[in-house]
């Protein structure tokens, strides 16, 4: 049955993706929920939070707030916080509750900006979609609202922007540093990882980047926007590799391999394997962008889709998060190579290296 999970458990939802993108932006993040969604974000989907808790607030909606659509109350509460913090802007993230009552986020944004006297961005997340959709919307809201070319006036140059850098995509809370080192070694003065490390000041310089790198599908739409608006070229490239995967694929040649991950990370592994004569299928429950998708690739929708792919695909190797392993018979592949995906299992990769 579509939507019925008997073995797998739900993946990171859109509000977690949006919250991840806003995490290092120095904003007031408000999750428009009754409390549980915020708890899920902070307690599960945002691994940075336990190390360095950032101001994430729950709207604390109660039944009558939802039934009566009391947006003004939410805005008043936001104003109280805005008065006591130095945040440059606020981000309001949707959840199933506003989705059910059809909250008008545009009106909410205007009202909040007026009363709080600061820019407000909103993400109409519903909790029914996956993290990459939430990330994509958050990136779009940010670049549309803040990105400009002010760096030209300040004389900054040699900037590389990296989009899609969140723990949900890279399964690491310090992998952004590896990414910065990697690209700085290629001659860039500044490497801004939007989503991890780079804040609003860096985001404002996005219009002046020499180039953008997109490391996950969630960053692609924003990269295209920046290309259109500022002429910034972009490339799809995933610069990290889990150490265990790098080791494991050394011994693989001329094999049939299935990689399940976010599409750009999976593509990076595929390129390595194809140099060694492998026939590689990339599959994902998340967005599969046309730019990278090949004829054999599979956009997974249901648990059964996944089980059928692995059990009937005749793969020698499956490279995927361990959580997927329990849903298929152990004898339908030769070897399982774990490639952690935080958005799937909520686990972090043990060690990664730059490609």
């Amino acid at each position: 049955m579509k939507g019925l999970l008997k073995v797998l458990s739900p993946f990171a939802p859109d509000q977690s993706g949006a919250a991840a993108v806003f995490y290092d932006m120095g904003c007031i993040t408000v999750i428009c929920d009754a409390g549980g969604c915020t708890g899920n974000v902070c307690g599960f989907d945002e691994p940075r939070w336990f190390r360095n808790a950032k101001p994430i607030f729950s709207a604390g909606l109660r039944d009558m707030d939802a039934i009566l659509g009391r947006d003004d109350r939410l805005v008043d509460k936001l104003r109280l916080v805005a008065e006591k913090t130095d945040a440059d802007f606020a981000a309001i993230i949707g959840t199933p509750v506003p989705a059910v009552i059809a909250t008008d986020f545009r009106a909410l944004k205007r009202l909040a900006e007026k009363r709080c006297g600061m820019p407000v961005v909103t993400c109409e997340c519903t909790g029914t979609r996956l993290y990459d959709i939430g990330e994509e919307e958050a990136y779009m809201q940010l670049v549309k609202t803040f990105a400009d070319t002010s760096a030209e006036a300040s004389g900054k140059s040699g900037i590389l922007g990296v989009l899609g850098v969140t723990p949900l995509n890279i399964s690491s809370i310090d992998g952004d540093e590896l990414i910065r080192q990697h690209y700085k070694s290629q001659g860039y003065d500044e490497v801004y990882c939007y989503g991890m490390g780079a804040g609003l000041d860096e985001l404002k310089l996005a219009g002046c980047a020499e180039k953008n790198i997109v490391i996950a599908p969630s960053g692609l739409k924003a990269a295209r926007y920046l290309e259109k608006k500022f002429g910034t070229p972009y490339e799809l490239h995933y610069p990290l590799m889990p150490v265990n995967v790098a080791e494991a694929i050394k011994g693989i040649e001329n094999a049939r391999v299935c990689i399940i991950h976010q599409q750009i990370a999976a593509e990076a592994v595929r390129q390595q394997l194809e140099q060694k004569g492998c026939d590689v299928t990339v599959a994902s429950f998340f967005e599969m962008k046309k730019d990278l998708r090949r004829a054999q690739d599979v956009a997974l929708e249901t648990e059964e889709d996944y089980q059928k792919l692995i059990e009937e695909g005749g793969f020698d190797y499956v490279i995927a998060d361990q959580l997927f392993r329990r849903a298929v018979a152990a004898d339908c592949y030769k070897e399982w190579i774990p490639m952690t995906h935080f958005a799937v299992s909520g686990k972090l990769e043990e060690a990664q290296c730059a490609l």
């Binding site: 999970l5 307690g43 599960f44 939802a66 936001l78 909790g127």
Partner: protein, 428 residues
């Protein structure tokens, strides 16, 4: 107060304001809810400890079908890794159309049937957990469950994980306590059987309450968490009376009294020695017997005396993520001669009497709430804490020794108090 200072109010000032004039800062409905590690159990009870999802699986052999958007089941990935829960969660994910039209309701009976056929062995019952979406849609889940039960051939019950109604008349944790006893059917009573209702994990094995009950002639003491199988669970219907040790179980006890004619007696978890004693006397009075708790009382009294000699000057900070009422525990510690400088708690009508007493014995004790946005600016250097109790309190004073006091096995009575002091001693 400084614009960037965590809000607090002294016990004296709060008591003077009265229950009808609690400051907005202490009322969660009046401000955004700040999320810090200290608030996690408030914001997501399903993620830690016993939330609705874990609690719903208290019935032996049951499985749960969570009918919700994917986000509501996300943290269950973590729960599924706990030994007892792996393979007991199933999910029917709602999409954008479902949450507007409610069309998912038509799929539930078939999904339950699939789950029952898939799960090995056949589950004793299926709990359907629904969330804010169905609260807003006004879903009649009782009707859906009846239909699902007819299709699947096992009992199907609703668990309402309605975070939106957290402060309502029947909060989710109260509702689920009623649900897990809903399958009990009337049986012949056994005068020597008693149920302890209240938690989803057992009370500590060395709790004197068990001995007291055995001394009264009770032969079988049932707790849902100790039921080995479904038949033993159904045997809870044979109890002569229920002991209710958690006020959130009151509604369940009332339902059991109505359906199965089992009366109940409510006891409160306390940490003040004299109150523990008094409560046992009251229990004896209610049962028409004399309860002799002098042995445990004396042992505990001696332990407290020794503890005081070994640790004469301790200053405490107390949180609310713990197996105690923060304010009652503060009163107890103050009564034993210690200082309680800070309490991070939720003020309510239930605990306001304790606050009035605190105002008399420790008027300057600071009362904070974990949920208020200015807790962003909490500065632990303002107040001394030699030791913190509660997982949330540890967050505020990371360098002080901490007793989390939030184990799943539940403390109660003299044994609970003694164990707490032992753990404090260990932490020091």
């Amino acid at each position: 107060m400084d614009n960037k200072q965590a809000y607090y109010i002294s016990a004296k000032d709060l008591a003077a304001r009265g229950l009808d004039n609690i400051p907005d800062q202490l009322q969660s409905s009046k401000h955004l809810i700040y999320s810090s590690p200290a608030t996690l159990s408030f914001n997501s009870p399903g993620a830690q400890g016993f939330g609705v999802k874990r609690a719903g699986l208290a019935v032996p052999g049951s499985v749960m079908l969570l009918v919700a958007p994917g986000c509501c089941g996300r943290n269950t990935t973590m729960l599924a890794e706990l030994g007892d829960y792996a393979d007991r969660f199933y999910y029917l994910l709602q999409d954008d159309t479902d949450i507007i039209t409610g069309r998912h309701l038509n799929r539930i009976p078939e999904a339950v049937r699939e789950v029952v056929e898939f799960h090995n062995p056949k589950p004793s019952c299926v709990m359907i957990c629904i969330t804010c979406v169905d609260a807003l849609l006004g879903t009649d889940m009782d009707r859906v469950c009846r239909k699902a039960s007819a299709v699947a051939g096992v009992p199907v019950l609703p668990c309402y994980m309605y975070a939106l109604t957290r402060e309502g008349r029947v909060p989710p944790m109260t509702a689920v306590r009623k649900t897990v006893y809903a399958l009990l059917e009337k049986r012949k009573k056994k005068s020597t059987t008693v149920n302890i209702l209240g938690q989803f994990a057992p009370y500590m094995d060395n709790c004197e309450l068990y001995d007291i009950l055995h001394n009264l002639g009770v032969k079988k003491i049932n707790e849902i968490s100790r039921c080995a199988d479904f038949e033993e669970y159904m045997g809870m219907a044979e109890a002569n009376f229920n002991l209710v040790l958690n006020p959130e179980t009151r509604l369940a006890a009332e339902d059991i009294a109505k359906r199965l004619e089992i009366p109940s007696i409510e006891l409160t978890r306390q940490y003040r020695l004299d109150k523990i004693h008094k409560q046992y006397q009251l229990l004896g009075g209610a049962l028409g017997v004399n309860i002799d708790d002098s042995r445990w009382m004396k042992e505990t009294e001696e332990y407290i005396d020794g503890f005081r000699e070994r640790h004469p000057d301790l200053e405490f900070a107390i949180g609310e993520c713990l197996n105690a009422d923060s304010f009652e525990l503060a009163l107890a510690l103050i009564g034993y001669g210690y200082k309680v400088n800070e309490i991070y708690g939720t003020v309510s009508g239930e605990n306001f009497p304790y606050i009035r007493q605190l105002a008399k014995v420790s008027p300057e004790t600071r009362i904070y709430t974990n949920l208020e946005p200015t807790m962003l600016y909490y500065d632990c250097s303002e107040c001394k804490a030699d030791i913190t109790i509660g997982k949330d309190a540890e967050y505020y004073h990371p360098d002080a020794p901490n007793v989390p006091w939030n184990r799943e096995v539940q403390p109660f009575g003299y044994a609970g108090l003694r164990t707490l002091l032992e753990e404090i001693e260990e932490a020091i």
